[in-house]
């Protein structure tokens, strides 16, 4: 690729968007209480692409659902721009593991849904939707219904739907590509990086895939096995788009794998 290497616009004094302080969380299952998060602390500055990496069941998805306002921590505080999250809101946009598109709306209408809910005027919605669909490379599919799109295209529409929300302080991604086959997953990751380079946003991306985290993130928050907390943080300063086969990536993968194994042992 001929594109110039780009890194996150990082200022040491970047404003903090998300602040998780001493979150403890447990849920009541039929077998009794089960602890999901314990002493979970995390701060996310503006413009950062953060990956939350952890094994299944470590509570990383719980954290994302809390950010989305779909569930609430039992203890501790979780703030977006200093304000407590009281429910789902248009200051956060989300991409799910399934594309979760509305089957009765076209790709363009799906992407514009949130903007319409936010009270945007029709012409502005159309302009923004066109722009975002262009970024994810789906301008030609604007008028298609979800059933007419491939699995990968559906996910790109879902990403565009989140990206369209200019007023969203943070974009939340809950293992969006984990159900996609490896070849298409790599393509979607490239699309995501290109989208992020075209229009950098604060992103919280939950994944259990180490390579994916290294490929995407400015910073990786590695979670301990259940009950989850952030056990280690790793900054990835490699320029984007990254070369999956580079020695630096391999070294990072080794380092992170070692860290996760050690956490596993101690748990």
């Amino acid at each position: 690729m001929g594109a110039s290497a780009a890194t996150a616009p990082r200022e040491t004094s970047a404003r903090i968007v998300i602040q998780a302080h001493e979150i403890n969380h447990a849920y009541e299952a039929s077998t009794g209480w089960s602890t999901a998060l314990a002493h979970f602390n995390l701060e996310i500055p503006e413009g950062e692409f953060l990956c939350v990496l952890g094994p299944s069941g470590c509570g990383k998805s719980s954290f994302l659902r809390m950010l989305a306002g779909l569930m609430f921590p039992l203890e501790g505080s979780l703030l977006v721009h200093g304000e407590k999250i009281i429910g789902p809101g248009l200051d956060r946009a989300i991409v799910f593991q399934e594309a979760a598109l509305f089957p009765w709306l076209t790709a363009a209408q799906n992407v514009g849904f949130g903007l319409e809910m936010a009270g945007w005027k029709k012409p502005q919605v159309r302009e923004r939707v066109e722009h975002v669909l262009d970024i994810v490379g789906l301008s030609a599919a604007a008028g298609k219904f979800p059933y007419q799109l491939s699995g990968g295209m559906k996910h790109r529409v879902a990403i565009a739907r989140a990206w369209a929300m200019t007023d969203a302080a943070v974009l939340l991604m809950d293992e969006p590509f984990s159900a996609i086959d490896a070849i298409n997953r790599a393509g979607l990751q490239e699309h995501l990086v290109r989208t992020w380079l075209a229009e950098p946003r604060t992103v919280v991306y939950v994944t259990h895939d180490i390579e994916e985290a290294i490929y995407l993130a400015d910073r990786i928050a590695i979670m301990t096995p259940s009950p989850g907390r952030v056990g280690a943080e790793i900054r990835i300063d490699l320029p984007r788009p990254r070369d999956r086969n580079s020695a630096a990536m391999a070294a990072l993968k080794e380092e992170i794998t070692a860290k996760m194994n050690e956490m596993e042992r101690r748990a």
Binding site: P88, L90, F96, E98, F102, P103, Y147
Partner: protein, 281 residues
């Protein structure tokens, strides 16, 4: 650039297949109907049942004469057949529309809200086993031998088909669709109107199809007992006059109008909704 199997060729294949399938369907349908008519004719002639089972030829010519308003024998049923059909049609449609207007919103609410469900479901389940015709005497008591009585019975009878289907549709919506809608700012009425309703449309259409057929069936039953006009009335009069051909003529018209109504209303709705956004429709 390869030109093998270009879009035009493929479209031609599709067209050819569609024509083949349509022709096959028509031929098979014709054979089925001809079989029914053949058995009917044979029975009528063989057992000499002219009086109670007139042959299809007689009945069909009766249908044609009636529709062309040029019957050789006197017309014993007051207004023309078209006025009877129109009266029945409007009653069925009114009852159906009222039932839809109540059943669809109620179904959506009961399907999505635990509170509404817990309040309303027992009531609805208690009323459900009462057959539509059981309401006819009460309807006559309340409204007399009027249009209102007939419309009321259709309304009661067809509410349930639409309610239960709508409720099932609302309840079976993929939860992630609702979560996505909420995350992208849809709440309250907007959530119901923009997300829950369209997501339930496939089930709602099934309910409407059942209810529309039911409405037409119920209308005849109600009219036989509670009306001075309509196809049900014609049926009953034909029996009093001992005119089996007229009786069967009315039955055929009921079938034709019911079939046409279903095509017109439900298919149109289907084409304009799930026909656009669902596969294999």
């Amino acid at each position: 650039m390869t030109t093998a199997l270009n879009a035009e060729t493929l479209a031609a294949y599709t067209r050819a297949r569609q024509i083949r399938e349509r022709r096959r369907k028509i031929i098979r349908a014709a054979i089925g109907i001809a079989g029914l008519l053949g058995v009917w004719q044979a029975m009528s002639v063989y057992y000499d049942l002219d009086l109670i089972l007139p042959p299809p030829t007689a009945v069909i010519s009766d249908v044609i004469d009636t529709l062309l308003l040029r019957r050789p024998d006197p017309w014993l049923y007051g207004p023309s057949i078209y006025q009877h059909l129109l009266a029945s049609f409007l009653r069925a449609l009114t009852g159906f529309a009222l039932a839809a207007a109540l059943a669809i919103p109620t179904g959506l609410l009961v399907g999505r809200s635990t509170a509404v469900r817990e309040f309303l479901e027992p009531v609805i389940r208690l009323l459900y086993p009462i057959p539509g015709i059981a309401w006819i005497p009460l309807a006559i008591l309340w409204f007399g031998l009027t249009d209102k009585a007939v419309v009321f019975v259709v309304f009661i009878a067809e509410f349930f088909a639409m309610f239960f289907n709508t409720e099932a549709g609302a309840r079976s919506i993929n939860p992630v669709i609702i979560v996505a809608a909420r995350c992208y700012g849809a709440r309250g009425f907007t959530l119901v109107w923009r997300v829950i309703l369209p997501a339930s449309i496939p089930h709602i259409i099934t309910g409407m199809r059942i209810a529309l057929g039911g409405a037409w069936r119920m209308i005849v039953a109600a009219e036989m007992l509670a009306a001075k006009m309509g196809v049900g009335f014609v049926l009953m009069q034909a029996r009093y006059q001992f005119r089996a051909a007229d009786l069967m003529m009315a039955m055929i018209l009921i079938s034709v109008v019911g079939f046409g109504t279903e095509k017109l209303i439900v298919r149109t709705l289907e084409r304009r909704t799930i026909g656009k956004w669902e596969v294999n429709r």
